[in-house]
């Protein structure tokens, strides 16, 4: 039976009993003052005055009704969830079916390619020491190189005539080398063969046909182990080549599409969602900055900002497995590093636009894939409704900030995101590290979240690239084989305090000094007067890095300046750094909230 019927009956009964009991109590109390012995309490007394039970019954009915509605809503949501789940499973099924058919198609191609190569037209040609072609070639050789009228010695000359002058000379030199050098192995001689692969154009019945021919050589030795003859084996690999190209093209296309999908399915949904939102924002920032770049002579600051943004995209995309996006961002980064400080000409400006477009195209590729998987992200909204109903203590500040346009983001997400960065950076650098985040604060508004995430992303990557030692070195230094990186977040008065520590090598002051001089950041004189403290500050300068190569994790000299900028300029906070050489670093960041 439905609740809305039980509740009123229950309410009337309870109301009745309560009324009876309360009147009985009142009568008993009154009995002390007046004589009430004449009044006999009849249960029907209440029946004659039903107003109390009716009110209670009505109230119960309303409670029952609203509870019913809530339950129905919850059931609806659950049903919706299950439906979505079903569609997701169906989608995954469809995807895997599609993938299978693609794989089958690719396999078919490979098989075809193999059979073409096996049954390929072959031609032989023997050349003796006097460079005279000998008889002993088959007809397919003639098909490739010319007509039957060239039978005999002139065939090789015909073959020769289709090569350009340069190649002819190289081939002669090569033959000379083959005959004069008895020590070289056939495989080595083949490596030096100048006509290993060449193109030629043939006219067959008025139609121009372009062919690709490959050749390899065999060496025929006489009884004295002297090279007597060189045998060329020619293959027409035109169609095999075309098929190979087609295969590579398809392979590339599919792997591009599926790598995005694999990364989408392989990561935490909320992390992906934040990443995609962040990417949208980053692209807007980039487009704005590039416009500014055209209007300003002095571009150093703008390019620093651009480098910071691109560096973040590169690192995050890499950590999540979006390799192509990460690669493109890397290219863009290298380019901007190169042109930083230069006066930009027309050519550079065109190149900038080209790079931006490349990045944007990859982002569009993303959007395309995601819209194909619409429901993949729609799932999240249902979860939100669910939590709204089930969590009784609805966070007031959350809803207020939502109205103001700031969504609050939980530090749990920060933990997830930084753990991913930790894992991928450690793998990339061949290191082992454990990242721990402890927090007594639940969440923060999305604007600050982005800045905080960005700065810890750079700190974490730098810790792993420069601080944490390789596993063997750590054991030698009597440390746990796993590098320990921790972030503690707490709230004191109106400040959020972030305490970040790693147990790596700490800053290498000597190395920083050396790099600072190389980069003309300071002269040797100035350096010698500086305290260790001031020297470490150099690390947070724009464009400083102690690593020689720009790799996927860090080293472009961008990261630490972003840390400084985000703390001081954007978050209006401050930070202190404790360097413990050989034992790691500790950074305490205070930001007002």
């Amino acid at each position: 039976m439905k609740n809305r019927y039980i509740w009123p009956i229950f309410g009337v009964l309870v109301g009745w009993i309560l009324s009876y009991v309360s009147i009985a109590i009142v009568l008993k109390q009154l009995g002390e003052f007046v004589d009430t012995s004449g009044i006999v309490l009849n249960p029907l007394f209440v029946w004659e005055r039903p107003i109390g039970p009716i009110i209670l019954g009505l109230a119960s009915f309303l409670i029952g009704l609203s509870r019913d509605k809530l339950i129905v809503k919850q059931q609806d949501t659950e049903k919706k969830n299950i439906d979505l789940h079903k569609t997701m499973i169906e989608q995954a099924g469809r995807l895997s079916a599609e993938l299978n058919s693609v794989m089958a198609e690719l396999n078919g191609y490979t098989y075809q390619l193999d059979s073409i190569i096996e049954t390929i037209d072959e031609g032989l040609c023997l050349v003796n020491r006097d460079f005279v072609i000998e008889e002993g070639f088959n007809n397919s050789f003639i098909k490739i190189f010319g007509d039957k009228e060239y039978l005999g010695n002139s065939i090789f000359n015909t073959a020769f005539s289709i090569l350009n002058e340069n190649m002819k000379k190289e081939t002669m030199d090569f033959l000379e080398l083959c005959f004069t050098n008895k020590t070289a192995s056939p495989s080595m001689l083949n490596e030096a063969n100048p006509i290993k692969e060449f193109e030629f154009v043939q006219v067959i019945e008025g139609i121009v046909v372009q062919k690709i021919i490959s050749s390899s050589i065999n060496i025929i030795k006489n009884a004295n182990k002297e090279i007597e003859k060189i045998m060329f084996v020619f293959n027409d690999i035109t169609s095999a080549n075309e098929l190979k190209k087609e295969l590579e093209k398809r392979d590339k296309e599919y792997s591009k599409r599926y790598s995005i999908m694999v990364a989408l399915f392989g990561n935490d949904k909320n992390v992906i969602k934040r990443f995609i939102d962040g990417l949208e924002e980053d692209m807007e920032i980039l487009s704005k900055k590039i416009k500014e770049l055209k209007q300003n002579e002095n571009n150093s600051n703008i390019i620093s900002d651009i480098l910071g943004t691109v560096h973040s995209i590169k690192g995050e995309a890499f950590a999540l497995g979006f390799e192509k996006l990460s690669g493109i961002a890397g290219e863009v980064e290298t380019f901007f590093k190169k042109i930083k400080g230069e006066v930009l000409g027309l050519e550079s400006n065109l190149e900038i636009i080209g790079f931006y477009e490349k990045l944007n195209n990859e982002k569009k590729e993303f959007d395309k894939t995601i819209s194909a998987l619409e429901d993949f992200l729609a799932d999240d909204e249902v979860e939100d409704i669910n939590t709204d109903i089930s969590s009784s203590n609805l966070n007031l500040t959350d809803s207020v900030s939502k109205h103001l346009g700031y969504e609050n983001i939980s530090f749990d997400l920060l933990r997830k995101e930084l753990e991913i960065i930790n894992k991928s950076s450690a793998e990339e650098g061949g290191k082992q590290s454990v990242f721990t985040l402890n927090t007594s604060v639940k969440s923060i508004d999305s604007k600050k979240y982005k800045l905080i995430k960005e700065l810890f992303l750079h700190l974490l990557r730098n810790s792993i690239a420069h601080g944490i030692e390789l596993p063997l070195d750590r054991l030698e230094a009597n440390k746990d084989v796993n590098g320990q990186i921790t972030l503690d977040i707490l709230k004191v008065d109106n400040n959020l305090i972030f305490e970040y520590t790693d147990d790596g090598t700490g800053f290498d002051v000597e190395k920083i000094k050396q790099r600072a001089i190389e980069h003309d950041i300071a002269t040797e004189d100035e350096i010698s007067k500086m305290s260790n403290r001031d020297i470490i500050k150099i690390v947070f300068n724009d464009g400083f890095s102690t690593t020689e190569t720009v790799d996927m994790i860090s080293g472009a000299g961008v990261g630490m300046s972003v840390v400084k900028k985000n703390i001081y300029k954007e978050l209006k906070g401050k930070f202190t750094l404790t360097n413990r050489p050989g034992r790691g670093i500790k950074i305490r960041i205070t930001i007002p909230v």
Partner: protein, 121 residues
Amino acid sequence: MKALVVDDSRIMRNIIINILKEKKMDGDDILDAPEGKTALEILNKESIDLLFVDWNMPKLNGLDLVKIVRKIEKYQDLPIIMVTSEAARYNVMEAIKAGVTDYIVKPITGVTIMEKIKAYM
């Protein structure tokens, strides 16, 4: 069978030596030299059956060393394997002209070395 490994990098020498040892070659039969002059002394004193030479070495480079070795009567048929990071066609031509038998392109692995030397062992 005796092998000589000539390379100015100790690490590279050790890699090749270890691979040869894995292939059941006696440690005593594997000699090594850090540069050309020492290598020539060993070649004169001993009878070597397989020679590994690094292309880029200070003072006497690998190609010049091979040219000198080929002039020694007893080493005219000696298998000489060049270890190099250059594999362009003209590099190979140059090596063939100097008298190199085969070459291995860096970075080397056990598989690539075995592939090349099984014909000479």
